[in-house]
């Protein structure tokens, strides 16, 4: 059984008290510690900057050409905080409660409470950094309600909240680079974690432009390397997002938790053909004013505007009168799938549902709508060639976020001592489903306000020790493994491109481990994936050399890891014979077709241990106890 090392005491004071109880590194000694931070997204950049400010010596790594470009930049909607600036009854407790409930009771209470608690500090910090959040005319911060929340607690910067928060963190990081506390390495991909005497001792990285492989050691390693939705091939993630860092840590002994908890976002633009390379998200905030519908008649041929009210099915409003179009993501997604599967899909490929702004434009006026969503409308028009002011948007669910990730304890430490995971890379806080505007909050909470404290507790006892020498045999071995893999890809000389395999893998996952999962489907996937992987190993074609930029080669390594991960996702989904949040097992549903949890058997985190390729992973469980939140069947009626 896994021990999360959650501190004792009432939930409201756990974190405060624990901060007091943890061991401290005194300011003068901090510079004696070296910390490696991999990833400079919201989580990684905020952590590296803060650790640098505290005085640690930090080495930060990203495969991006600049720390300003992480996937976090694409977040549109906003970031939650329990400020209660609008006196609408919000509080830390309510944010905590909503998050646990939204996660369908599969997250750790203490972590979520801490998240809600520090959410307010994040807003303070970001405003002080110059993040241009939206303001009201009086000059105070504006908020909106977002993704199913019944209070206005979402702070936003036009439709570019992630961009502005990331740039804030990037700037804080740049300041530390200038100050010399952080050494920033861009264009370097981490390809292995080195473990010496059971502790994380360093990493192996490859320079994407020159192919040079190098070793770096430190007292602790932090991974803020993002989520793995790209396992599905088509997702809303940036093209280069991948699981490699987390996966290679997993292969070195870090447990991977709840891999099957993936979030399918309801409002992406449906794909237009089979060569589509990625899906574009339309911010969830659109559901605040847009109404979702499909024609009642599957054979409808009229233009959307000509379809009279009585022939439209506003299925969410009908089915969930209290929440209507604002039901949580998983519910909205599954319902869209039901409509499309029933043949009522819209658009040329009949693969979407309408999101209609005609009412909102009538009620608020075109200008007000343009003010709120202008850039999203523009983006939509650019992609589809259709003007959403005139014609309803078409949307369809797309893989978007992964709640699963490296298992971490209350200190955000993985099962490898000295290896920490933050942001989307870890599994914490969101349970089986993430609420809108909570990922940015979690990434920054981890990076700015949690990890910089908890890491001290690990480091303090090591005062006086130096990082392991990179000439240690463990480094030799890890580097040799990395080199061998690179050489293998280049030598295979098969017939198919890396992208082809990735696309095929994505189809298997989407069909069997996507919005709906069944025992038979998962079994099928579990037989298809290894077969495809085998083919990949023998038949992939990677051209060019390892000494210059070679994106096929980069992708090959990432896709190899997706293969192994995909298997684990399916195995986890198969083992979890309940429906919860984003994980919908057809065998476990209510009579109305809603997700049916099984709290008696599955109120736990499944954390998987790697035992080698081809051998079954071992499941470890962390039981979840709920003292403050009452477990109820979610209902949005």
């Amino acid at each position: 059984m896994l021990d999360a090392k959650t501190p004792e005491g009432p939930i409201e004071t756990k974190w405060e008290n624990h901060k007091f109880d943890m061991k401290l590194v005194n300011p003068a000694n901090k510079r004696k510690f070296e910390i490696i931070v991999v990833g400079t997204g919201l989580a990684g950049a905020s952590a590296a900057a803060t650790l640098g400010e505290l005085g640690y010596r930090v080495k930060a790594f990203t495969y991006h050409d600049s720390a300003r470009r992480a996937h976090s930049i694409a977040a549109q909607g906003g970031i939650n905080a329990a400020k209660n600036y609008h006196s609408d009854g919000d509080s830390i407790f309510r944010l905590f409660y909503d998050t646990v409930k939204g996660g369908d009771y599969r997250s750790r209470e203490a972590n979520v409470y801490r998240l809600a608690e520090v959410s307010n500090n994040i807003i303070d910090q970001c405003v002080a950094q110059g993040v241009p959040f939206a303001r009201e005319y009086g000059g105070l911060l504006d908020n909106r309600s977002f993704g199913g929340a019944q209070v206005s607690r979402t702070f936003y910067a036009r439709g570019q909240t992630g961009q502005q928060l990331l740039l804030g963190a990037y700037q804080a990081l740049s300041r530390q680079v200038k100050a010399g506390t952080v050494e920033l390495h861009t264009g370097l991909e981490m390809l292995d974690v080195v473990v010496v005497d059971g502790k994380a001792a360093g990493i192996i990285v490859r320079d994407l432009n020159t192919g040079e492989i190098s070793r770096h050691s430190a007292h602790a390693v932090v991974l803020g390397t993002g989520g793995y939705s790209n396992a599905f091939y088509l997702s809303t993630m940036a093209m280069s997002s991948n699981v490699t860092a987390a996966w290679r840590a997993h292969r070195k002994g870090a447990f991977f938790a709840n891999p099957c908890f993936t979030q399918i976002h309801p409002t992406a633009i449906p794909s237009s053909d089979e060569f589509q390379s990625k899906l574009t998200l339309m911010s969830e905030s659109l559901r605040n004013d847009g109404r979702i519908w499909v024609p009642k008649d599957p054979d409808e041929t009229r233009a959307p505007g000509d379809i009279p009210e009585e022939d439209r099915d506003y299925y969410l409003e009908v089915k969930y009168p209290a929440f209507g179009n604002l039901v949580p993501r998983d519910v909205a997604s599954r319902n869209a799938k039901t409509q499309v599967d029933a043949g009522k899909g819209v658009g040329p490929l009949k693969n979407g549902v309408f999101l209609d702004f005609a009412d909102a434009i009538g009620r608020l006026g075109r200008d007000a709508v343009a003010d709120k969503y202008g850039n999203l409308f523009e983006m939509y028009e650019r992609i589809t060639g259709e003007d959403p002011y005139q014609v309803p948007m078409r949307i369809y669910p797309a893989p978007h976020y992964t709640m699963g990730g490296l298992w971490v304890d209350y200190h955000l430490q993985t099962t490898i001592p000295g290896l920490f995971a933050i942001g989307e890379a870890n599994f914490s806080d969101h349970g089986a489903n993430r609420l809108g505007a909570s990922a940015l909050m979690q990434g920054l909470a981890d990076g700015y306000f949690v990890l910089p404290y908890t890491i001290g507790d690990y480091l303090a006892p090591q005062l006086g020790s130096t990082p392991v020498d990179t000439s240690a045999s463990e480094f030799d071995q890890a580097e040799a493994d990395v080199k061998a893999q690179v050489d293998r890809f280049l030598a295979t000389n098969g017939t198919r491109s890396v992208d082809w395999f990735h696309r095929e893998l994505g189809k298997i996952l989407w069909d069997h481990c996507g919005m709906e999962r069944s025992e038979a489907g998962l079994e099928k996937a579990l037989s298809e994936i290894p077969a495809l992987r085998e083919e990949f190993e023998q038949d992939v074609r990677v051209l060019g050399s390892a000494e210059t930029l070679n994106s096929s080669l980069e992708k090959a390594g990432r896709v190899a890891d997706f293969f192994e991960l995909a298997e684990l996702m399916c195995r986890d989904a198969l083992t979890r014979r309940e429906s919860c949040g984003g994980h919908f097992r057809v065998e476990s549903q209510t009579e109305e077709g809603e997700a049916l949890r099984d709290d008696d058997d599955f109120a736990h985190v499944s954390a998987w241990e790697w035992t080698g390729q081809g051998s079954e992973p071992v499941e470890h469980r962390e039981p979840l106890e709920f003292e403050y939140v009452k477990l109820t069947q979610r209902s949005y009626k």
């Binding site: 400010e53 300041r175 200038k178 100050a179």
Partner: protein
Amino acid sequence: MATKVSHGDDAATGSRRTPFLVELYRSALGKKYLMAISGIVFMGYVLAHMLGNLKLYQGPEEFNKYAEFLREGLLTPILPESGMLNLLRLVLLVSLVVHVVAAVQLTRMNKQARPESYRSKRDYVAADFASRTMIWTGTIVLLFVAYHLADLTWGWVNPAEAGATVYDKVVASFSVPAVAAFYLVANLALGVHLYHGVWSLFQSLGINNRRFNHWRRALAVGFTVVVVGGNLSFPIAVQVGLIS
């Protein structure tokens, strides 16, 4: 916790600080700033020069009187004879040196910023002919000014006989078709230069206000039309015999 950007050199040299303008000039932004200021000086000059020359239309007497006044009348007796004119000449000369040297230095900097030019043909959207040819229109104007001075101020290349009045010199010069043509070309170049320069100086000086910005282009066009229109009329008037 401000990380102060260090001013190491200044601190070390203490009181021996370089003058503000020199310090400013070291940066490209500062050069542009001084180019704008010197540009304004030239704007004043070309406008006054054009207005004064309109006296050509009032006949030789008025025009020669005006030329005399410039030499002697300006602010005398406060200043000695020709004092103001020389002062103005000095200002113009300094402006010229600043404007030209800065332009050359900046052009060199810009070349270095793109040592390898695009191999494919550029398709410009906003960069108009005027803005892309400043260095060439400027060069033409500069060459012309040299000739113009040699012609009318120092009289080295003037076709009129020695001791001719200023008016006669002008008419003699513009009667030569090649000179008139050069004058026309140079003024068209000046027009193109002004069209971009007058607009551009607001940007360089940082004079920017969303309420008034649209006037900047109008001013540039208006100013260019007035100055160049006036200037162009002189050789034409001589050539067609309006002035003789």
